[in-house]
């Protein structure tokens, strides 16, 4: 099964695949960020492999690690084929300055909240997302908590007023 998936992605997107990794028997492909949507669409439309399920997507912050040289943020897309019970990962590195990637909301409606979560916690922008707003942290929290340079213990004052209508005293 792994051979089939490797063949598919290597044949059609040979130049977009940077390298392949099978750490602990999990198949993952490092791809160029700009090819993401095309690759996902090709997998989604292929009737042989039947990759219809976007299981998860998340990011890793490599700040201060030797891996940072490839790009500070690593995005991990977790795709699953229900028919073949096969899971594989698409990974890509994004730069530290203004990380940006195309949104997958057009392909999978379920990607909506996952992308909002990554945007909220890592500050990665998903271009073309219909409603890219914070989802977990309070509206007035500044910064992106899961970045490694966000302090662990310092707490910003929160919930002090409603965002849209601060009381007279504060105005």
């Amino acid at each position: 099964m792994e051979e089939q998936f490797r063949g598919f992605i290597k044949d059609r997107f040979g130049e977009a695949v940077i390298r392949e990794d099978d750490f602990r028997g999990e198949q993952s492909f490092y791809v160029k960020p700009e090819a993401l949507v095309e690759i996902c669409q090709a997998f989604l439309e292929d009737n042989e492999l039947q990759v219809r399920f976007l299981s998860d997507l998340t990011a890793v912050d490599w700040l201060g690690h030797e891996r940072e040289s490839e790009g500070r943020f690593e995005l991990i897309y977790n795709l699953y084929s229900l028919t073949h019970a096969h899971r594989f990962f698409l990974k890509m590195h994004l730069p530290a300055e203004a990380p940006k990637i195309a949104s997958l909301c057009d392909l999978w409606p379920g990607a909506n909240w996952m992308e909002r979560e990554v945007y909220d916690l890592f500050g990665i922008e998903f271009v073309g997302h219909p409603d890219l707003t914070k989802i977990l942290t309070p509206d007035d929290l500044e910064g992106h908590p899961l970045r490694k340079d966000f302090p662990l213990t310092y707490e910003q004052p929160q919930f002090s007023w409603n965002k849209d209508e601060p009381p007279e005293v504060i105005k």
Binding site: D21, F23, R24, E26, S28, R52, F53, L54, S55, D56, T58, V60, D61, W62, H65, R67, I76, N78, L82, A85, R87, F89, W108, P109, G110, A111, N112, W113, M114, E117, L121, K134, I135, L136, T137, P138, P145, L146, F150, L152
Partner: protein, 390 residues
């Protein structure tokens, strides 16, 4: 000036039928729902960030506190992921005990769901029956881990201690009690006309949509997709057990109710098999430097004491790389993505939260329907806000 036709209503965050602190902003045209916006994050405590700041051992206790209705499933998911990262094989007895406990957890979680969901729909007495049976499962937890809810009993490489001496007897009593209880629930609900009217053809989602929305667990199977990670990608020795995947047909709230009852039955089957075939052996793997040595050894053997001290004070170092391990938790696909960076703390711990991702489909489930069905839809998704917000 055009007449305003819709009314915006705020539900929650402190509303009993939202099962925690979920806020739902509903736009209504009369009784019809035009638009629904779930607002989450009131319970966000940064569990992922906390776990990233702890040693691999210490991070375990955070997992209980996410889906607090299914602590053993969370423990299991985390431990399996770390074991994959560190390439640890656990003894067979541990696998069987874990399966047994994970299935007890599934029953426990489904019972709480059943009780609260029926209360939402007006069947007040259900909660008393389901909590009666849940109590006996909690007693088993207490006997195992010493805690009733936040057990942390399943540890990296094995279990916290040996199973209690009367484990077998206790669990068999639970099985008998839940079996009898199931008859009560079915009598009260399955053919109950009010319950059927409130749930049939409500919150319907088709199989294609369920897959596109990344739904998992009962939400996916309720629509007729035969997918269960215990069968598809067996973990912790599930391939040794004989059970069936329960699945629905119409993808409505009633089908999901029937499906969860069937799942309880299948769990009882698995538990019986696990008890009958429970192998003998150690309760923890022997991997010096990574897995804590058994407490008895620590007291009498010098090497064990040194390892114990080393692991507790500085932990173990994980290789650079990411692993993902998903389990079929009561709510759906519950996965851990753990990234090691060569140090003794994880670089990244990502929880794939089934409740969060299933809840994202709420607008799809209720928009265009009646307002009174919103409560039913929220209930039938089976969310735990501790896990949604983490």
């Amino acid at each position: 000036m055009p007449e305003q036709r819709t009314v915006t209503l705020n539900m929650g965050p402190q509303h009993p039928s939202t099962h925690g602190v979920l806020r739902v902003v509903v736009e209504l045209d009369g009784e019809r729902v035009v638009k629904v916006t779930p607002v989450v994050g009131y319970l966000h405590t940064g569990i992922e960030k906390t776990m990233e700041s702890k040693l691999y051992y210490q991070a375990l206790v955070c997992t209980d506190r996410m889906d607090y209705l299914a602590p053993m499933s969370n423990n299991l998911g985390y431990c399996l992921a770390v074991e994959k990262l560190m390439d640890i094989e656990v003894p067979e007895k541990v696998q069987w005990a874990r399966v047994c406990l994970a299935e007890l957890t599934r029953i426990k979680s489904h019972l709480v769901w059943l009780g609260t969901h029926s209360i939402d729909l007006g069947a007040m007495s259900m909660l008393l029956y389901t909590f009666r049976d849940r109590e006996s499962i909690i007693d088993v937890y207490e006997a195992c881990g010493g805690q009733r809810m936040m057990t942390s009993y399943i540890r990296i490489g094995g279990l916290a201690h040996e199973l209690p001496v009367d484990f077998d007897k206790k669990v068999r009593r639970v099985v008998k009690q839940v079996n009898e209880g199931l008859a009560d629930y079915e009598n009260l609900l399955t053919n109950n006309e009010i319950f059927i009217n409130r749930t049939r053809n409500v919150a319907v989602i088709s199989a294609e949509d369920a897959i596109a929305w990344s739904l998992s667990g009962p939400m996916l199977r309720g629509s007729g997709v035969k997918h269960d990670l215990r069968k598809a990608n067996p973990y912790s020795g599930y391939e040794n057990f004989d059970f069936e995947i329960a699945y629905g047909k119409n993808g409505d709230a009633y089908d999901r109710y029937l499906l969860r009852l069937k799942e309880i039955r299948q769990s009882l089957r698995i538990i019986n098999q696990a008890l009958d075939g429970m192998p003998e052996g150690p309760y923890r793997a022997r991997v010096p430097g990574v897995v804590l040595p058994p407490k008895e050894d620590v007291l009498y053997k010098m090497e064990s004491m040194i390892f114990h001290f080393k692991i507790i004070t500085e932990g173990f170092k994980a290789p650079v790389g990411s692993v993902y391990q998903a389990i079929e938790s009561p709510k759906g696909e519950f996965g851990f993505l753990i990234t090691g960076d060569g140090s003794n703390r994880p670089r990244r711990v990502r929880v794939r939260p089934p409740s969060f991702i299933n809840l994202a489909s709420l607008p799809r489930l209720v928009e265009g329907g009646m307002f009174s069905d919103v409560v039913c839809a929220i209930g039938s998704i089976d969310i735990v806000l501790g896990e949604v917000d983490r």
